[in-house]
Symmetry: C2
Subunit: 294 residues, 2 copies
């Protein structure tokens, strides 16, 4: 089969054998925002044509490709959801070269009745066997970090933290960015930001410390971005762990980001395990196994 993780800014494809092993892979920057005139079918064929020519005829796609801005909208599936539930809710799409199906995103409501949505992360979570077998917490750090609770083989609920996007907005469009200069993104100053996030005063106050500490000479301009990053990631992790102490956090993503988060989770008193982005392939395989193919 062919598994596709198609997000807003990137495209990844896996050729997956009958036993779940990844036989081949490719990636490109052709995320859904970078596909002109919504020519998703043509783009897909260009990307995976050689594998289709080898006889592959099942394609499972997850991520923002199934959103309103993508190829076709795959309606959200409510939690709790197991791979089999997702497989029963796939959306067929017309693709002349193979059977193609879209994985739905998930929808959950928290105790206060506020909605949460994800698209693509559910697939990566299903790709971590330890989570499905034993339950636990999944963390997918990034622009919109996702934290999900897994129990009894199902995703039971999740929360999004806008950490990465807030970091970029603060750095690019507030006074905090004006005195920032290139520097290391981790190290002791990142840790100082993490520690700061445990103090009273709140996030909106802590971030002003980036400016005030620079003004009084207590923070170098080359350290300001790492300090801000530590404050934001610290707030994310402390809030997310508040309802999940003691549970192992399975961090899924690119190694440079999972390393940073593992360090931060441990500094905040948590236990972390890292998984790379191949979890997407494993998740697509797990879902495909329950799907009906003709």
């Amino acid at each position: 089969m062919i598994g596709i993780d198609w997000g807003t800014t990137g495209f990844r494809a896996f050729r997956i054998g009958d036993d779940g092993t990844i036989g081949d892979r490719r990636s490109s920057p052709r995320g859904i925002l970078n596909v002109p005139d919504a020519r998703f079918g043509d783009t897909l064929r260009e990307e995976i044509g050689p594998w289709l020519a080898l006889g592959e005829d099942r394609v499972l796609l997850s991520g923002m490709i199934g959103s309103r801005q993508g190829w076709k909208e795959a309606p959200y599936l409510p939690t709790p959801a197991a791979p089999a539930d997702v497989a029963a809710a796939l959306t067929d799409i017309a693709f002349d070269w193979a059977q193609a199906k879209l994985v739905p995103g998930l929808l959950s409501y928290d105790a206060a009745g506020v909605a949460e949505v994800m698209r693509g992360e559910e697939t990566q979570i299903f790709g971590v066997p330890a989570l499905l077998a034993n339950g636990g917490i999944a963390c997918l750090p990034g622009t919109h970090s996702k934290w999900a609770t897994v129990a009894d083989g199902r995703i039971v609920g999740f929360a999004t933290h806008m950490t990465g996007e807030v970091y970029a907005a603060l750095k690019g469009h507030t006074i905090l960015g004006r005195t920032m200069r290139e520097g290391a993104s981790d190290g002791p100053v990142f840790d100082a930001g993490l520690a700061r996030s445990a103090d009273p005063g709140g996030l909106l106050h802590h971030i002003f410390g980036v400016r005030a500490q620079t003004l009084v000479g207590a923070l170098a301009e080359t350290d300001a971005a790492a300090y801000l990053s530590g404050i934001l990631i610290g707030h994310e992790i402390r809030a997310a762990l508040a309802s999940a102490t003691g549970t192992t956090v399975h961090i899924i993503g690119a190694p440079e980001l999972t390393r940073l988060y593992a360090r931060a989770i441990e500094a905040c008193g948590g236990v972390a395990e890292q998984h790379d982005g191949d979890a997407a392939a494993a998740g697509l395989y797990a879902i495909a196994a329950h799907a009906v193919w003709t």
Copy 2:
């Protein structure tokens, strides 16, 4: 005397009688960022020339005009500070038409040793007689909201919350702003945002609710900005009040903003009293009374 509140984006001048009453006033958008070629002396003379011609010869200036980006840097004075302490630390500036002095900003360190700075707000706080007489909490809402503790006639410490600037950055430069449309800035949706800020999950999570609730049709696009504003102001107030429950909060600023904050503070369990921007004139008068004029 003449009192000047000269900030980053605005300029306000008061002609103040010997008994402290405001005899005349003027304001303009000529904040320090809008004064070409740092021609602050010329700008000041253009603004207050008619009053100088009437014989006024004492000018006291506060705000960002005393910053590194302003006319001349007036070094920060450490807290605790009373009006007399500030008056003893004024910085003279050369101005051919009258004696002119700059009010220093204040510098404080919190329990964790992190610096805080203000310029101009100290003057407005000194302009609220009830605060100097009885102590309490001052809140100056805005781009960078300031919360200060006053005791025994002195500002003993303070904290900045970047609420207004974060709101603008999120609205203008993240996915949250994309689906926002013009609507009322207060009302039930603002209150819902305030209430949301008391839930677990943290600020970085709560703000994503603006998007998720819009996606599932639970939040109108015309209500999204007010909901976001309620979440941010609620987080600010809850963090600021955490160390000051039961004390009256004296809110100082433009009436539309003090009204919004009074409503929010009361919704968060606090007690609020509103003061308008004329507090700047009263504060300049209070400081000037302790200053040495020739």
